[in-house]
């Protein structure tokens, strides 16, 4: 046993030192789930690949999967820093406080946190305007639904998710005034069985288009079996439901990751930045649209995506009332970023409560 231990220590030192010589920079990633979830986490791994391709041996990337949202994340990030990481990307909302805590302890290390709202001198946040994509798929949903019931499987009641529901609803309602949304909150990002149960429930209640803001591909599989439609979440999921898959909102992290790592190497990286990019910047990509969508609707959806990208259309443009009927945006007024980032209310027409 002792010999083994000594060997492993020698080996690991060798590895660490050889890497230290080989690369200028070490970048660490922590993921909330498995890398091959074909969803949220998978797209971050695509971003890691983009870094590797852009910098080759100059940058070493390391990652840790299945890092829970909580104190455990602190331990993992601390370990990464101690093993020489110069920059850390934390890729889930709930890694927020751990990032801030660890960043305090290591002021020289650069931290990037996805979808959060807390920054520091060495912490920047980045997020995508997913609601722009949700507007496009909401439009498609409004057009293809026959039952006029659209199901929505939501994870946690955080602004990002609420924003997505509102955006999709407004677009669907504009496309089809009779449309009705059924929202189920399942309080997890990743639980295939629970996601499948929620989707089945929505289908049993008559929904024929299912949207999701949870990470696994279970909903797509269920939709395929039941003969209804669904959308890929974060990645293209058509392999799970060739007939059910309408299109996907794909997260494009690669360009941002490469840019930020480059800045870190050049010394131009800054903390306290809050990046919030959308379709126009390539951080949100509308996937390939299925033949099951009528050609005219495909064109409308593409036009909508293009107009959002160019800035001609903002998915939240008044007149919009809040759920209780009180006015939010006047005619022609566009939502300000502060309200969007903290959004905690439904727009008028959506039934049910947002769990607080």
């Amino acid at each position: 046993m002792k010999i083994l231990k000594i060997c492993s220590i020698i080996l690991s030192t060798l590895f660490v030192s050889s890497f230290a010589i080989a690369s200028d920079m070490k970048v660490g990633f922590i993921m909330v789930g498995p890398l091959d979830d074909h969803g949220w986490n998978y797209q971050h791994s695509v971003g890691i690949k983009a870094i590797n391709e852009a910098f080759g041996d100059k940058v070493e990337t390391i990652y840790q999967e299945n890092v829970p949202e909580g104190p455990d994340a602190e331990r993992v990030m601390t370990q990464m820093v101690l093993s020489g990481a110069d920059m850390i990307f934390a890729t889930s909302f709930g890694h927020m406080d751990p990032v801030i805590n660890v960043a305090k302890k290591f002021p020289d290390v650069k931290f990037e946190h996805a979808t959060g709202f807390k920054t520091a001198d060495n912490v920047s946040t980045y997020s995508a305007r997913f609601y722009e994509g949700r507007s496009v798929i909401g439009h498609i949903a409004g057009k293809v639904t026959k039952s006029n019931k659209i199901g929505y499987v939501a994870s946690y009641p955080i602004p990002e998710v609420v924003r997505g529901i509102n955006s999709a609803y407004l677009a669907a309602k504009a496309a089809n005034p009779d449309v009705e949304f059924k929202v189920i909150w399942i309080f997890t990002w990743f639980d295939p069985a629970k996601e499948a149960d929620a989707a089945k429930t929505l289908i049993q209640q008559g929904a024929d288009v299912i949207m999701q803001h949870v990470d696994s591909s279970a909903i797509m599989t269920v939709a395929e079996e039941a003969g209804v439609f669904a959308y890929g979440q974060a990645s293209d999921m058509s392999e799970f439901g060739p007939n059910a898959h309408l299109t996907a909102i794909i997260n494009g992290w690669g360009p941002y990751y490469v840019k930020r790592v480059k800045e870190a190497m050049d010394g131009t990286w800054k903390g306290k930045q809050e990046t919030f990019d959308g379709i126009g910047d390539g951080m949100v990509i509308i996937g390939k649209m299925s033949d099951k969508i009528p050609a005219s609707v495909r064109k409308e959806a593409q036009d909508l995506a293009d107009s959002i990208a160019s800035g001609d259309i903002h998915p939240f443009t008044g007149p919009i009332n809040k759920q209780d009927g009180s006015p939010w945006l006047a005619d022609g007024e566009e939502a300000d970023i502060g309200t969007l980032l903290g959004m905690n209310f439904y727009v008028e027409g959506i039934e049910g409560d947002i769990p607080q």
Binding site: G33, P34, D36, D37, H38, N66, G151, P157, K182, V183, I184, W185, I186, F187, T188, F190, D191, P192, A193, K194, A196, D197, A198, K200, T201, L202, Q204, Q205, G206, A207, S216, S217, A218, T221, V222, E224, E225, E239, F240, I350, E351, G352, D353, I354, P355, Q356
Partner: protein
Amino acid sequence: MDFSDINFSLLIASLIVAATPILLAALGELVAEKSGVLNLGVEGMMIFGAISGFIITIETKNPWLGFLCSSIGGILLASIFAVVTQIFRANQVASGLALTLFGLGFSALLGQSYTGLKPVSFPDMHIPILADIPVIGIILFQHDFIVYFSIFAVFLVYYLFRKSHFGLIIKAVGENHDSAHALGYNVILIRFFTILLGGALAGLGGGYLSLVRVPQWTEGMTAGAGWIALALVVFASWQPFRLLIGAYIFGGITLLQLNLQALGLEINVALLSMSPYLVTIGVLVFMSARRNKNSLEAPKSLGKTFFGL
């Protein structure tokens, strides 16, 4: 709000499906615990069964073979536990936890090239005549084989412990392994058997998850079902029929709260989400409260290592 959106016979039918994986796993654990073995590796055995069954179903296109292999997968993992705890006399709690970690990791490794594939669907068995009865037909007689098997297994376990000689021996081993040993029973052999049976049922439950309920392979897809199964055994106070009720209540409330949410009901959703756990525990505790003390207690030798005399 329109309650007519909820189809109650479909709801009950799907709660039975939703509860089947935990029912099977919990039933296996119940038998193991009755013999005095606390195996915390249920989650690991389930997920290993899920991937074993999934791989075989994809490769052979035969879900029956898949289910067989998910059981065998569960047995394989359980046999590690059995060897470690019964022959090498390791601590059961630690070994069980290790088994869960190992099962989660090893299944992720095996499953790497199996994400994104779809297994051959497992046919429902519509029981002739009975399946056509309105309402009850949909609820009870249009399920697949594994659902019928899980209910049958509950009866079997009940019979085992209530009416059979072998069941008495298992209980004797679980209550006091030294006495059972003194009476000439082979404690280790009997525990080997119950551990492997537990593994087979947990594996089958896992296979049901990846082959029917979801149906696909995703890393970590059991997402805590094994732990719920473990808790159910305790709350059902080691009684098979209570276990059945507990599992169905758990599945039922889970689905009911999803249905209520989809209706847009003005109820606190966080409360709804924890209701399956609360209600299940509440009901089982209430049922236990009326029994006499002896029938509630855990097997006396539960979790203890048998050293022989």
